[in-house]
Symmetry: C2
Subunit: 169 residues, 2 copies
Amino acid sequence: MKKVLVITYDKVDDSELMYPLYRLEEAGFEYDVCSLEKKTIHAKIFVTAEATLLPEETDTSVYDALYLPGGSAPEKLRQNARIKEIAREFVRDGKPVCAICHGPLILISAGLVKGRKATCYAGVRDDLINAGAIYSDEAVVTDGCLITSRHPKDLPAMMKAFVAAINAK
Amino acid sequence: MKKVLVITYDKVDDSELMYPLYRLEEAGFEYDVCSLEKKTIHAKIFVTAEATLLPEETDTSVYDALYLPGGSAPEKLRQNARIKEIAREFVRDGKPVCAICHGPLILISAGLVKGRKATCYAGVRDDLINAGAIYSDEAVVTDGCLITSRHPKDLPAMMKAFVAAINAK
């Protein structure tokens, strides 16, 4: 069974946590939530998820894909060295890496966007561009194993692309 | 393009509105939201949807399926004669009818559950049974064109069945 690693923290966007986690389950995939603490993660409004894994104990070789939701969580997560390394390992291994909204901030800090086509929340678009990405204002932008989206309304297009990419591996 | 009718109102469950509407969009289906007023529908916590259609102006012949989310909305909706008739028209025409949580209350009032295998939220299970349904405590119960589920955690199983039923028509 395919297995997806989700890295997030408190104040993640509710929709960006709820829709993808249900959707991965519907697709028949397993997932683990990795965070800065092992605890119940509380999204901004009401959605929750159980974080069962710390970055330093995460072995990326057992996962088929990585999902990075947005909200305020990525600004905390991008400061963690092991999380940046995890993102680089997925890209190095050619496994799908999907990030939405503020999620691409982690890809910026991991040095993964230079020369790559990508998108993100409009409020951090300039940071994506300054990091060397080729920004595109589309619902979903795919460049190799990188899949990025802008905001919750893009979730249907994003998950269609992400599920297909996981199934294609 | 396949088209789904969604009947709901204020105080619908957030998850039961968000996941299915995004999921229908991901599947490439269109949908219209029918309600007691043409306005922005506010789920219990924060999810919204635009109701553009009143029951009395709804022509079921242009739709391929019906979705009835739960929350507090169905207790209001089940009192509307045209909404009950709409549900009966979908069943008469053999089109998929999907209801979750308190959504099956509308099917009870429409006289559609007698002798049919179905499920619902545990708090109204006795009403489903008293209406003559064969209750089953499963994530998703399918009996002919009727697809029912218990609560938000069943959404992945429910939408897998519902999307497949719509595509099979």
